[in-house]
Symmetry: C2
Amino acid sequence: MTETFPRSPDAKPPTMIDVARRAGVGLGTVSRVVNGGAGVRAETADRVRAAIDELGFQRNEVARALRPGKKSSSLALVLGDLTNPFFATIAKASLEVAGQSGFAVVLGSVDEDPEGEKRAIQELIGRQVAGLMIVPDQSDHSFLVSAGVPVVFVDRPAHGIDADIVMVDNEAGGKVATDHLLRQGHRRVAILLAPSYYTTGRRLRGYRRAHREAGVPVDESLVVLLPEGTAEEAEKATRRLMDQADPPTALFASTNFVTEGVLRGLGDNTQPAVVGFDDFRMADMLPTPVTVVASDIADLGRTAAHLLLARAAGTDTRPPQRIVLPAVLIQRGSGERPPV
Amino acid sequence: MTETFPRSPDAKPPTMIDVARRAGVGLGTVSRVVNGGAGVRAETADRVRAAIDELGFQRNEVARALRPGKKSSSLALVLGDLTNPFFATIAKASLEVAGQSGFAVVLGSVDEDPEGEKRAIQELIGRQVAGLMIVPDQSDHSFLVSAGVPVVFVDRPAHGIDADIVMVDNEAGGKVATDHLLRQGHRRVAILLAPSYYTTGRRLRGYRRAHREAGVPVDESLVVLLPEGTAEEAEKATRRLMDQADPPTALFASTNFVTEGVLRGLGDNTQPAVVGFDDFRMADMLPTPVTVVASDIADLGRTAAHLLLARAAGTDTRPPQRIVLPAVLIQRGSGERPPV
DNA sequence: CTGTTAGCGCTTTCAT
DNA sequence: ATGAAAGCGCTAACAG
């Protein structure tokens, strides 16, 4: 009895009114039943439910969300490249948390262009999302101040607005990684930074502080700010570093893609020590297992989602929070090579 | 002059009526301007635009989508684990395509439970998405027939409904991989399958066909159906395989996670040849670079999104399409080891 | 307990 | 060219 092709798109789906007529009750009663059925006689409710099944009725969430106050039950997630496991992990985690509360997650498509993010965000706000989780770029986000929607920033704070932020302890991470290298006697530790103003700055800060406290001067030629945070750029930069007169004996890569590039750039050269920021799948399977400074990225996403949900529900009215997750060193081999 | 905290959540955003009052025009005029401004005197339009800027007005997409026919400009994407690069790639690609057409993408949270997918899909339909892209599980999807929304399945077809499907040539891929191994003289080729009824079945079919055509009998003890498609299960299964009396000299892993597990299970044993299905980041960086059968996964996502957009727009009214993308062998080393 | 009614913000005729 | 008015499907008073 099952049809085998989708119903023609113009066939209008049944509404509550259809259900009401079918069940011989009022519109309000149907609404009550659909929303839990409190205050409706069991018998009536059954009749309504029967009608719902027969008609295949499904509540129109859009109309429901039109009601003022009743913000749509969806959150927006704005981030860069889903192909980056770092972002994918955040997405998955926040999706799970949102789903548990009956919220869907709308993904804003963020192209590369600088205007893309703002456009995407405004688009999303127009869709009446109940809240936004944003992994912001460097641009000004003050336009969000008057958006009337709760916002939680993830991984890095945004300019022009004081809102909740959930992130990793970048400076401590940078410090731990560098300490580890210096402690083993390395004196020429290079750092390769992806161009993300904030995290980059903090990680570099940790790197410098480690040097200062160890009494080791920083050779500025070993501080490399990549033009792009890709493996390709990191690979090129690594080659250049190793080709110079006095090459580093250790390299600190500031993101997972950069780590990949560094390893590629090093090729068969198994001399220099390498520590990466952010763990990645199969880091332990590479020829020399990769030592990293890692955080619980899924927790980053989960925490952000929980916080946003609480803000959206109005449950949480504290001033903007700043949640910082720890970063720990995971020794696997590449970071434990002694200096030459 | 910029405030530094988000506006209190109860501050209602300005509506078109506010704009109309402010500009001293009628509601309809504002609507016209917002939608391109055709048929409005330039001078009037300017006044309206000025009011829009001053008030920071933003069209309420929800109210807009309430209009019948005017399907919301968002597509739904329902898939499993975003943490799997395979799915993440699909998500990213479809997101880009959708974004170019001004569509947002809503992600359904698909938990592990079998009912999860159906619930998520119905939720999404209730949100009036213009179309659905689904990487379906094995359950029955006939309930979508009467949903009145175009659906495109990705990676595998669904039961109970004849809709568009974009996928990889699984059988050819299985054949190519197995051929490659047999051609090098391997006679004991194991295949490790993740439990996904369809792709698994096709890949296995290719495996069998390759054996048949080569006149090599299949040892059924080498056909392993994993209880779960995780690296852990694949690792355990690989250990078991290699521990048996007459172990295989080659292994064919049916997904990227399975490939990872196989490599882990093999550990230092660098004897057996390995071919994986689906390429993955850093496959070329492992101790022995990994030979894989790969397809353009991003293209899978892109194609699905394009098709869905056309269906949603009513532009494409062809009968359900079945688009199959090729799978090619990428030789990197692990698959070129000779039999012992 | 249940039916009726008034909007939510917008698009879209239909007059003017 | 522009204003007025009728809903879209639903929720939330308000009556009965």
